[in-house]
Amino acid sequence: MRETTRLRRMAAALCAVTLVATACGGNEPDTAAPTGDGDEQTDTDTGDDTGDTDGDEDTGGDTGGDTGGEIATDIGVTDDPCPEAINPDNGCIYLGILSDLTVGPFAALGVQIVEGQEAFWERVNNEGGISGYDINVTEYTRDNEYNPQTQSQLYREIEPDILALAQTLGTPPTEAILPDMDEDNVIGVPASWWSGWDHDSADYGLILNSGYSYCLESQIALDWSSENEGEIGSVLAVGYPGDYGGDSAAGVQAWAEATGAEYLGFVETAPNAVVGSQDAAIGQVVSSGADRVVIATGPAETAEIVGGAMANGYAGRFIGSVPTWNPALMDSPAAPALEAAFTHIGPWEAFTGSSEAHQAMQEHLGEGNLPGNDGFTFGWIWSYPLKSLLEQAAANGDLTREGLRSAVDGLTVDYEGALPERTLGGDANETAVRVAVVSQPDNDEPLRLRTIETGISGPTADDYDYSAPCSGT
């Protein structure tokens, strides 16, 4: 009897905790398991089953929804509509998302990136979908916690049900599943800017990246900074080791070698959750006396490094990679230091930009509404290549995984003005994006960043021999 009561109490406690967690998470992306509505069979039936409305979904149909044409499909595409479909007459293309949503170091960005992608595909569906198919990016959204092992497990879990990955966040987690993606012919959109994504030798030609790489980013930034913020005699890189900070530092070193500036080295740090504080990095920044410090860390660490170094007498300037920024930094004690000595570099304009793509996302959220941070913008713009690919594959009459993969090379992507039109595949020296946007902290701006200049490039970055990834190989 006592045991029964205890069990009841434990069950009640678990229910209460679950309810609280659910109630607090109204803005989170849906990470629930599929309800069953979207369960697909993965046979390769080529029969004429477009009119199949008996409830048994069949991914093997040769047409979808209203297409009426001959489009071959296999995994992750159903003739039945998506759950809560905007266009009930359309079939459904299921895309997976593996993002950092709760306890990983980029969860603040990851949640917003997912929201941006959901908004992007909702717009696509509102405009009728793609060749008779709506796009679903919610059924197979999972939290990778920025952990390669978790990523690998989750990929195995959702792979049988998806056509492609609408997002795979983080370079190390993505690298962990690349061989499997290669075997399964699964195309993926990265939520990172590692230089390897520009090279088939590193990404198997599976990764549809957008914008520059961290390696080119730091070179463009230093080119711009030396022209606009004073001569650079010495430069120091600070960041996380590996394919983020390491890639950025490789660019800093290449820039110094090309321009004759003194390269003072790469200060490897880690998130505060690992190292406790950025004291070591601050000490090395101050003692280096570098004219410029290029930072590739998380936002909290950036604020600590910039604020701490300035408070201890550092007199140079900082350049921050894309993920270093968060609007809330302007509420931190480091705000005056950031305003005085911090320049942010990004691949495209922030949410408040003026391109057709930006106007579309602003319209989607409604006038005057802002996302939590610019991850929303990243998610939206990162989605363009996959949209172009799906359209091209459908036009080719082949929405199978192999069909998608074969359509990548030579694909032209229209970013609605957020980025220059781009052709995928080919020689990275010819096709890699080498333009950026420079911004500076400003409390009067909606997302606390004021755009200084868009579409910038630099002579060192333009001349850089990009025949191989800068790091991580």
């Binding site: 740090t269 000490g283 936002p299 408070a311």
Partner: protein, 299 residues
Amino acid sequence: MDDLLTILIRGLAQGSVYALLAAGFVVIYRATDVVNFAQPALMVLGAYFTALFARTYDLPFPLAVLAAIVVVAMVGAVTERIALRPMVGEPPFSAAMVTIGLFLVLTIIANRLIGSNVLTVGDPWALDTAVFAGNVRMRVADGWRIALTAVAFAGVGLFLVRSRVGLAMRATSLDQEVALAQGVNVGRMFGLSWALAGGLAGLAGMMVGSGGMGVDNTTAFIALKALPVIILGGLDSLKGAYIGGLVIGVAEAFTRANSATLSGYVGANVDVVVPYVIMILVLMVRPYGLFGTPEVQRV
């Protein structure tokens, strides 16, 4: 010499935060024989509620800190009542597993409360630095960390030694059945120990977020540094938690200060490893820690 003192103060400040977190582990372990892995999540909630009261509700900072401590203490007590009390009588290992689950749930709740941005607690010290005795530099926030931790330990120590409730808690920690026979409400003592640990974690949360450091969804993992601290000091010793925390903090600070030199030999961020090296060395020599109670088993 000035530099040495500057580094020493920085280490003592960081170590003070570790000590506070370790104290929470010790208080609960002494009362219930359970290692509470949910302590880091309580710390993050402490930072969140401090920011909420200080920044959103504009309470004076000391009042905001006190309010946050009270709220997190209540969260601790309620958590114990709901999730841990039904585990009384079960093996401590099972209860420890429950605290791991609680860590995940509370961390997710805390992260959702914090949202998608970096949180700052609104402390008045910010990046202020004081210079004294020639050229010894000390962050003002570090001075407060050291002082507040010393006061907190003194307060908890006096409470346990001088008050009747403290005596009852100590009796419970020594032998639950005997304490029960003496009229001590053992369940209430469990709740009180969780509340006390929650309060200490709440204070530690404020400290972690002060002095220009932001709090985000990874901050909870800083608290895992308390594990080598309690191994060093002894799992059931408050004095051990205090001294262990300071030792670990100072060892880290001196390693960090020399990281540029050391990185050429042992790689970057070697200071991350130092607490665990110390922990392993202590385990080899004194498995019960510097001030822990040796476990004697009759055979």
